[in-house]
């Protein structure tokens, strides 16, 4: 329904968006996710028609939007800095887009009331935006965008400035409203949880380039490159520089700067065989895939030193060091650890991601998949 076809946007010499190709089906919730300065907001503004692409085209319902001014695109947008009409009351702010579309005043009243109820801003309807808190303003901005029926809703960090509790609630509300309206949504965020929780599909972008476009499951479990892998997940994935070695006919990964070996199983072997050997291998592993022992045993063979302990209540996140690399693992809060204690890790074959020159070679075996293989074998 909405399609970006290799869109590029340059501001002078800086390239904000580069060869971006995206699409969004009807009623789909697409999240554009990336770090600050990645070109997320620029992408939304391109879609809205506020700025024009330097190259490439944007299509809505199969028609190119070139030359169509923003007011004729039937899109609705939440701006990151709210962009509230400060000379109007909250009521008039919410009614503003409806009035442009000649909605009857009785219906305007009803819709504003309903929206205010949902967003819990009903008590402030007669106030001006200047007399609202940041969170309240953001809700007004969200309400103004969602109040009318648009083809596409463009949401630029619409709930990012709320406090944690309210954000959590608004996340749920937002998903519910959009589902109820059967809205087509392009949502920009830098919050990975928000991206995962809201989206049907996530477009991860960095430096104006699309890194990966897929369902939350694909993004999390099958990151196509190191950037996506490192940017998605909490705690972030840990990486180890490794060298591919073969000793006595057995292949293994040697962790650079130490003589620690990681085992290579059939799973990784077949992935490596299919491609040209890269210059540099890196192993990426999520904290939940690593098991920890406090004494060395047959599987827990990697000694590491505890560097930082973060307590989260239900679990602790422990950062350990292997040479120059840091590995994050999850431990039970019942185990008392101290900084500089030595613990032993097990990073098994089939539990880590393998990247060659930044590109994914293979991913961990899914638990369900593993089970199927065990049963099958």
């Amino acid at each position: 329904m909405l399609k970006l076809d290799s869109v590029t946007k340059r501001f002078g010499k800086t390239v904000a968006v580069q060869q971006l190709t995206l699409d969004c089906a009807i009623n789909e919730f697409v999240v554009i996710f990336g770090p600050a300065g990645a070109g997320k907001s620029t992408t939304l503004r391109l879609i809205a028609g506020i700025i024009k692409p330097s190259e490439g085209d944007i299509y809505l319902h199969g028609h190119a939007l070139t030359g169509v001014p923003p007011e004729n695109r039937n899109m609705s947008m939440v701006f990151e800095n709210y962009a509230l009409y400060s000379h109007l009351t909250v009521y008039d702010n919410l009614a503003f887009p409806l009035r442009a579309h000649k909605v009857k005043s009785q219906e305007i009243k009803q819709r504003v009331q309903d929206m205010a109820e949902v967003l819990q801003i009903a008590p402030f309807l007669q106030r001006r935006p200047g007399f609202l808190s940041g969170g309240q303003r953001q809700r007004v901005a969200l309400g103004r965008a969602l109040i009318r029926d648009a083809d596409v809703y463009l949401l630029d960090e619409p709930i990012s400035h709320l406090d944690a509790k309210l954000r959590h609630r608004m996340r749920g509300e937002l998903k519910a409203i959009c589902a109820k309206k059967e809205a087509t949504v392009m949502h920009v965020t830098h919050d990975y949880r928000e991206a995962m929780a809201l989206s049907d599909r996530i477009a991860v972008i960095n430096m104006g380039r699309l890194m990966q476009f897929g369902t939350p499951d694909e993004i999390f479990h099958y990151p196509q490159n190191e950037f996506v892998a490192s940017f998605v997940g909490e705690p972030p994935m840990s990486f180890l520089d490794v060298a591919y070695i073969e000793e006595g006919g057995k292949a293994a990964f040697q962790v650079e700067g130490s003589d620690i070996r990681l085992t290579i199983g059939d799973h990784e072997k077949s992935a490596i065989k299919q491609r040209v050997l890269p210059k540099q291998f890196r192993v990426g592993v999520r904290a939940k895939e690593i098991t920890v022992a406090y004494e060395p045993d047959t599987t827990h063979t990697i000694p590491t030193e505890v560097y930082v302990i973060e307590t989260l209540g239900h679990r602790n996140i422990v950062t350990t060091r292997i040479g120059a690399d840091q590995i994050k693992v999850i431990t039970s809060p019942d185990v008392k650890l101290k900084v500089r204690d030595t613990i032993y890790l097990d990073i098994q074959s089939g539990r880590y991601h393998l990247f060659g020159d930044g590109i994914a070679f293979c991913h961990p075996v899914r638990q369900s998949q593993q089970l199927a293989e065990e049963i099958g074998g």
């Binding site: 923003p70 947008m77 303003r137 463009l154």
Partner: protein
């Protein structure tokens, strides 16, 4: 002890304010009282602070010197030129604030037109209007010498650069996102200008209008050179009491009071629009 010291400081501050007020307001006080004095009371020495008020001076100004006409002329000229200045100024200034045509060079060029003193351009103006008055268009729009149109044009030309610069920052302060947002809400560029930009720039426009009105109201040189009788304005009227027989202090001060009061009223009325920060709360931060 502490409270005493504060109250002394407070007393001293108020005392200082009082002195300053007396220094600044005394001429105005003297002007107003003089306008109500009879001609004998005006020139007595020592000056009289208690006297029997009379309206003779006002009667003289309005009946003998035709001040009604001068006031009417001034209202027409100042009002029209202010309307023109605000209309053209806001459009020009908005476009400079948003698109900056000429990369600042045109903007600077506009400022340079204010760098010459009025006296330097008064002769060209005189010649232009003298010749314009002989043409059809000049006649239709009263652009000849001693006609109000000429003054309106002169004041507009002289005030526009100033107005553009003054309003520029007000328009710049309006976040661009507000306009983008309004357009996405379904309003055309022109509707956005009238429904979002102008209301938000209202304080700036009010300030500009006041300055432009004050300038046109108080302007003397152009009015003195370009008018003789029919289009004569109030400031020239006041100066006409400086006659060869001497200065008619009574009618002069009466005329001056009439000249000052309307501007005071307008300034007080527009003051509430002059508060800064209408855009307060529009964007984060």
């Amino acid at each position: 002890m502490e409270t005493q010291r504060i109250s002394f400081g407070l007393f001293f501050r108020h005392f200082l304010i009082l002195i300053i007020l007396i220094v600044f307001l005394f001429p105005i006080y003297w002007m107003i009282t003089t306008s109500f004095k009879s001609s004998e009371d005006i020139l007595t020495r020592p000056p009289k602070f208690v006297f029997e008020p009379t309206l003779d001076n006002y009667r003289f100004a309005f009946e003998e010197a035709d001040f009604t006409k001068f006031i009417r002329n001034t209202i027409i000229v100042a009002g029209l030129s202010t309307i023109l200045v605000v209309t053209f100024g806001s459009i020009a200034s908005y476009s400079f604030a948003r698109w900056n045509p000429g990369d600042g060079h045109i903007m600077f060029f506009i400022l340079t037109t204010r760098m010459m003193p009025a006296i330097a351009v008064i002769m060209p103006f005189f010649l232009i209007f003298r010749d314009l008055g002989k043409t059809d268009i000049g006649n239709r729009f009263y652009l000849g010498l001693d006609q109000p149109g000429a003054l309106v044009v002169a004041y507009t030309v002289f005030n526009l650069p100033f107005a553009i610069w003054l309003m520029h920052s007000f328009f710049q302060d309006i976040p661009m996102e507000l306009e983008d947002s309004a357009r996405l809400d379904g309003y055309s560029r022109l509707q956005v200008f009238f429904r979002v930009v102008l209301p938000l720039a209202a304080p700036g426009i009010a300030v500009t209008a006041i300055f432009s009105l004050l300038f046109a109201w108080n302007e003397f040189l152009f009015a003195f050179v370009l008018t003789r009788d029919d289009a004569r304005t109030i400031t020239v009227g006041v100066s006409s009491f400086q006659t060869q027989q001497g200065i008619l202090w009574g009618p002069l001060t009466a005329a001056a009071v009439v000249c000052v009061v309307p501007m005071l009223v307008v300034a007080l009325f527009l003051q509430r629009y002059m508060v800064r920060g209408l855009t307060f709360g529009a964007v984060r931060g």
